[in-house]
């Protein structure tokens, strides 16, 4: 027993050290490999503990899972990371739920009450994670449930299901009837679907982080049921990581987790928005126009580029890289500002830009870059709307009010490359479009950006 504790602790310390190495891009690869080694060690140790080496079927299962994992990791593209993580969250939750079911059938060896309680909770959380993640992954991949589905009485149905699920878990402790397992599975699977089916694209970072956390929590609690400290410890690491990210995402979007999950609809200003569009079209004739862009670029010394999810949709990453290169060639100070919810999951935008070959040292997060906007000559926004909307500071009562933004409006000039003048996910009109020092270029960034880059090159 003592040897177990030592080995388990060593493995968990290895994992924690691995995460610590993730603090900087220079050491992160080593951290990931350390994690992989620890995982291999953990599985090997349990193998020998359970004397499974001779069971060739186990090897077949492991090889099957391994092959699927390897093929999967080769096929995915970086733009698909949100759905990939969502899918893997789901598999983790599914595995925990299955473990809970099997262990309930096998029955407890000690402490019956807590066994049934933990197994039933692990089953519930695992099932929510599985179905919720599958819906989220399908949505993100665009295969199904593309639009948020609003069901009448959504909140009431969800709360009723959750309450009855929890009561059944309590019931399970006293009447260990195995058929309850299936009712629990059904109820919690439905809860997972209901929680995610109405989620819109921009709420995705919250839900993915939340399900990431849940996949860890399910593992941890199933560890309590089967009595394995490794599951308990490592599961809690995953759970905590997901919670930290969920919290960051909620704050950056100015949404509460309960609001996102229970289907609480923000009073989006969509009707009002249609009227605003008319008023916006009237302000089109401003003194500044597209033609002025090259001269503005030429004079500028300090430039900040703000990419949003629209840039990713337009697949315009490489033009950002080109723009960065030509501006830097001209001896300008260029930085890239990244809002926490610029992508569809935490850190997504950083990955997309790194993939395009942009040096990560040029990527700045919101807190670091915000003090620099007043001294900036030009801000170039590509496919970003809500995250630069000054209404977040001023328009009290709108859904966006209070959301932290990139203070692009403080710069001397702002050039916006957006598909159209429609408001962002929040439904709040972007008051920046009306400002005097703002130039707007409407259209697909993959078409508008190359033109600007070409013009600038020819001018030089």
């Amino acid at each position: 027993m003592a040897i177990n504790i030592i080995i388990y602790s060593a493995i968990v310390i290895g994992f924690i050290t691995g995460i610590r190495l993730m603090q900087s891009p220079g050491t992160a690869l080593r951290g990931n490999r350390l994690g992989a080694i620890c995982m291999a060690a953990a599985i090997f140790f349990v193998f020998s503990e359970l004397k499974l080496f001779a069971d060739y079927m186990v090897w077949i299962y492991i090889i099957a899972g391994g092959v699927i994992g390897v093929i999967f990791s080769q096929k995915i593209k970086m733009i698909q990371m949100p759905q990939v993580v969502a899918l893997l969250n789901g598999l983790g939750g599914g595995a925990s739920a299955i473990i809970a079911v099997v262990t309930m059938y096998a029955g407890p060896d000690e402490n019956g009450l807590l066994f049934w309680l933990t197994a039933a909770i692990a089953l519930g959380i695992g099932a929510i994670t599985f179905t919720g993640s599958m819906v989220a992954a399908l949505k993100l991949q665009g295969w199904a449930f593309k639009r948020p589905l609003f069901i009448k009485g959504h909140k009431i149905i969800l709360y009723t299901l959750l309450t009855s699920g929890v009561s059944l878990i309590v019931l399970m402790i006293f009447y260990q009837e195995l058929y309850i397992i299936y009712i629990l599975l059904f109820i919690f699977s439905l809860c997972g679907i209901l929680m995610t089916i109405r989620i819109g694209g921009a709420d995705m970072p919250v839900i993915i982080s939340f399900l990431n956390s849940f996949s860890g929590v399910a593992a941890s609690i199933s560890g309590l049921a089967v009595g394995n400290a490794l599951l308990v410890g490592v599961g809690s690491l995953v759970g905590v990581a997901g919670m930290i990210l969920t919290n960051i995402m909620c704050k950056s979007m100015n949404r509460s987790l309960v609001a996102v999950l229970s289907g609480f609809k923000n009073n989006r200003a969509s009707d009002q928005n249609n009227k605003n569009e008319e008023s916006l079209s009237q302000i089109k004739n401003k003194s500044l126009s597209e033609g002025k862009i090259p001269s503005i670029f030429k004079k500028a010394r300090k430039v900040i580029i703000v990419p949003g999810y629209g840039m990713a949709l337009a697949q315009a990453q490489m033009y950002i890289k080109q723009l960065l290169d030509i501006l830097e060639k001209d001896n300008k100070d260029v930085k890239i500002a990244i809002h926490p919810v610029a992508g569809r999951m935490p850190g997504h935008m950083n990955v997309l830009l790194a993939e395009a070959g942009i040096d990560y040292a040029k990527l700045y997060d919101m807190d670091k870059i915000n003090p620099e906007f007043p001294s900036t000559d030009v801000v170039i926004c590509v496919g970003a709307c809500d995250v630069i909307n000054p209404a977040a500071n001023t328009a009290e009562g709108t859904p966006i009010y209070g959301m932290p933004i990139l203070k692009a409006f403080e710069a001397k000039a702002v050039i916006i490359f957006n598909l159209d003048r429609k408001s962002g996910y929040s439904g709040v009109e972007n008051s920046l479009y009306k400002e005097e020092n703002v130039i707007t270029v409407w259209g697909n960034a993959s078409e508008t950006l190359p033109k600007i880059i070409e013009n600038f090159k020819n001018d030089n």
């Binding site: 492991i62 099957a64 096998a106 593992a219 490592v234 599961g235 990210l245």
Partner: protein, 92 residues
């Protein structure tokens, strides 16, 4: 036994909180896919229930094992692939 487990859980959660909070937002996506790999620790639980169950249940336990191993290999390899893209420019 349960008490020891709970203490272990809390210690891990606290240590985890400390190290994970200082991961920069730059690396949050690799962090999440890395966490996908770590949640593959359920492979250990799957092996455990596999070893104690009857032949019929073994098939179900095997499903959990396969899912968990997909998480482990997929998670670590995807994280590796992603982290390789974070490069500094050498020519400057």
């Amino acid at each position: 036994m349960l008490m020891a487990m709970l203490i272990f859980l809390i210690v891990c959660a606290v240590l985890g909180y400390i190290v994970i909070s200082s991961v920069p937002s730059l690396l949050h996506t690799p962090l999440m896919s890395g966490m996908n790999a770590l949640s593959g620790i359920t492979a250990v639980g799957a092996l455990y229930v596999y070893s104690i169950s009857s032949p019929g249940l073994k098939v179900i336990a095997a499903a959990a094992l396969i899912l968990a191993i997909i998480n482990v290999t997929g998670g670590f390899l995807i994280t590796e692939k992603m982290l390789r893209m974070f490069k500094k420019e050498n020519n400057k």
